[in-house]
């Protein structure tokens, strides 16, 4: 594995995903393009229903039956240096890649474990499915080592059923399970929702440390900006199925270009800043089936220009590593969009 932080690991080009619904095609993701470098941690943020979970599950080929990827490519640079398009792989090839190279921790991790199997069985099954000729003892050692890195009592956890351990422990066990085969890209869907604040802090710290130790890349979905500020190197903002901005984390907070990103940052109460007036973004998210032409954010946007109602803005580079899709981006120094 190369230690170069700037070598590209995963790239998504113009991916569109649609759900087949009674009312017609629901365009959950439209022309999404982003990339993740090795050892980079990217945060995918946006409101509920903006397509962020759909986008992430499409990478691991776990979309619901009603959804289909209608266009685009997902390029993944495998460990041997070859670049493959995940969408063109056969089922068998994909199965080998999943969990070995790309693993995912789903939302509602509280119910991701099989309730009738002990945790040990679930670790053993995972290894057995991917590696041949590994003895039970070796698997046991691997799982133990991992569970200890996530600060769990391996002895106790391995012999427990999922209902016997607490939510925070389950979440940490799942993180351990997702790292079992040394993946190079780990996708986490809402890694800390449903956990209390002290456990959340613990898990974030752990993820940061594991990422540095093991050198994997992270793609995590959240709607909590404080988690973003702690864990991400890069922030990808989605709105109504469109990636509207992708920026390095510092720049995202200090100099957001898209009015939606800027609005989000100013809609969140902070603990330490005093007397900062907060702003909501007026209006409601659009219906993804009956999308109008132009920018989907235009009806709620304070910086809207006539062009916004006519044409979808292109996803363009505004500075190094900073991309934004907006006709009238927020200029530097101006706050609240």
């Amino acid at each position: 594995m190369s230690n170069d932080k700037n070598s590209l690991l995963f790239q998504m080009n113009n991916v569109s995903i649609a759900y087949n619904t009674k009312r017609g095609a629901l365009k959950a993701v439209q022309n999404a393009s982003f990339s993740i470098n090795e050892r980079e941690s990217a945060a995918l943020i946006g409101e509920s229903g903006c397509g962020k979970t759909t986008l992430a599950t499409s990478i691991v080929d776990a979309l619901p039956n009603a959804a289909a990827i209608t266009s685009g490519e997902m390029l993944y640079k495998a460990a041997d240096g070859k670049t493959v398009d995940l969408l063109k792989l056969s089922r068998g090839q994909m199965r080998r890649l999943l969990w070995d190279d790309i693993s995912m921790v789903f939302q509602a991790s509280q119910s991701s474990f099989n309730p009738v199997c002990k945790i040990r069985t679930q670790f053993v099954d995972t290894v057995r499915a991917h590696r041949k000729g590994v003895s039970n003892k070796q698997i046991d050692e691997m799982s133990r080592a991992l569970l200890e890195t996530v600060h769990l009592d391996a002895e106790k956890v391995l012999d427990s059923f999922p209902h016997e351990i607490s939510g925070g422990m389950k979440q940490r066990t799942l993180i351990a399970l997702s790292l079992l085969l040394d993946p190079r890209l780990v996708i986490l869907d809402e890694p800390t929702t449903a956990l209390d604040i002290l456990t959340q802090e613990k898990i974030l710290k752990l993820l940061r440390q594991l990422k540095d130790d093991k050198g994997f890349s992270l793609l995590f979905i959240t709607h909590d900006l404080s988690i973003v500020s702690e864990l991400a190197d890069k922030v990808i903002t989605m709105y109504a199925g469109i990636i509207v901005e992708s920026a390095p984390v510092k720049e995202f907070f200090s100099n957001p270009k898209h009015p939606y990103s800027s609005g989000l940052i100013h809609a969140i109460p902070r603990l330490t800043d005093t007397d900062d007036e907060l702003f909501s973004i007026p209006g409601n998210p659009p219906d993804l089936i009956t999308l109008r032409k132009g920018c989907p954010f235009a009806p709620r946007c304070s910086r809207c220009v006539p062009q916004c109602h006519e044409e979808l803005p292109p996803f363009e580079q505004v500075r190094a590593d900073h991309y934004c899709a907006c006709w009238n981006p927020v200029s530097e120094g101006v706050h609240h969009g």
């Binding site: 500020s229 109460p269 330490t272 005093t274 909501s280």
Partner: protein, 328 residues
């Protein structure tokens, strides 16, 4: 301002089969004045929702006293009980489950008026319903009266439940995590609506949340308290609670919430609890419930005696031995 709610030594225990009762709330003392907001902060499972339910009359209490407008709630009967139930209303957490999907917005708000105020005349009802919808910011009103909940977004649904509650002219509204299911970009406007309603109608809020920053924002200039394992550990004006947190537990959750990141927030100093799991309600530690996790515990004191409430500055109470008068 008149006192609306007074709790004294309120305790709630759930009986168990063949086992000792599980005590969820212990010795809760608090007062809420008319037109005042009290914000309750705490982790999941600390008893804050149970306390909210007791205040709303949806649950009973085991011992202690709960006075509403000077009358003991336990002794209320018939008309008095009915009027108490009308005066205390609750906004539930999940607006996707708390509205009847088969009912139009108009009926949802009009039914309580029909039932409790005996107004059946449609023009008067319509006037009342539209006034309420306007108050909660669902305008233009004509667009909303004949909608079913499935056509509304989370924020709009929550506004409908607020309008429905306001139809009863409540004095106290228990707001249980009412914004946690709503998109970030819409939360603030909902909170602002709640504040507007408070200024217009002089209602009191019992605001339950686990989000410290949100609680601080909503309770600016008002009171806030922190709960841990069924007890109030700290109570103070909201701003002081954040800037001058005194209890070790408060300091730990503040430190965790503000995080270690330099980008978004500047941590007010790092403070961590000892590594230990949250004790279960069935086996609470002796003495101060925090002592197994507290880095500042005093051996021989914290693990034996439950600390009293000490006043560290006007209106700022802490239940911790560190602030005992004779020690300071």
């Amino acid at each position: 301002m008149d006192e609306l709610v007074r709790l004294e030594k309120l305790t709630k225990a759930f009986p168990q089969k063949r086992k000792q009762d599980v005590v969820i709330l212990r010795d809760i003392d608090l007062t809420i004045k008319e037109g005042e907001t009290l914000c309750v902060l705490g982790e999941s499972g600390c008893g804050k929702t149970t306390l909210g339910k007791i205040l709303a009359g949806l649950s009973t209490y085991s011992s202690g006293s709960y006075q509403f407008c000077g009358e003991e709630v336990r002794t209320l009967r018939k008309e008095k009980w009915d009027s108490f139930r009308n005066h205390v209303q609750m906004i539930h957490q999940n607006p996707y489950e708390s509205l009847n999907p088969a009912m139009m917005v108009f009926d949802m708000i009009a039914n309580p008026i029909r039932r409790h105020k005996h107004i059946n005349d449609i023009p008067t009802l319509y006037k009342k319903v539209t006034d309420l919808l306007e108050l909660v910011g669902l305008t233009p009103v004509e667009d909303f009266v004949d909608k079913y909940p499935n056509a509304l977004s989370g924020g709009q649904r929550q506004r409908v439940s607020i309008a429905r509650i306001l139809a009863m002219d409540p004095k106290l509204i228990v707001v249980d995590e009412a914004t946690s299911m709503i998109d970030t970009s819409l939360r603030i406007s909902l909170l602002k609506t709640l504040v507007d309603i408070q200024t217009k109608l002089n209602v009191s809020y019992f605001f339950i949340t686990h989000d410290l920053a949100l609680g601080r924002y909503f309770a600016r200039g008002q009171k806030a308290m922190i709960m841990y394992l069924g007890r109030i550990v700290e109570e103070s004006p909201a701003d002081e609670l954040i800037s001058k947190a005194a209890h070790p537990y408060t300091r730990a959750i503040l430190s965790a919430a503000s995080g270690s990141s330099e980008i978004l927030q500047h941590s007010a100093g790092h403070y961590e609890l000892l590594e230990a799991d949250v004790p279960s309600f069935t086996a609470l530690p002796s003495g101060c419930v925090l002592h197994p996790r507290c880095p500042q515990r005093i051996a021989g004191l914290c693990d034996c005696i439950q600390p009293e409430r000490y006043e560290v500055s006007p209106g700022h109470f802490v239940s911790c031995h560190l602030y005992a008068k004779d020690r300071a």
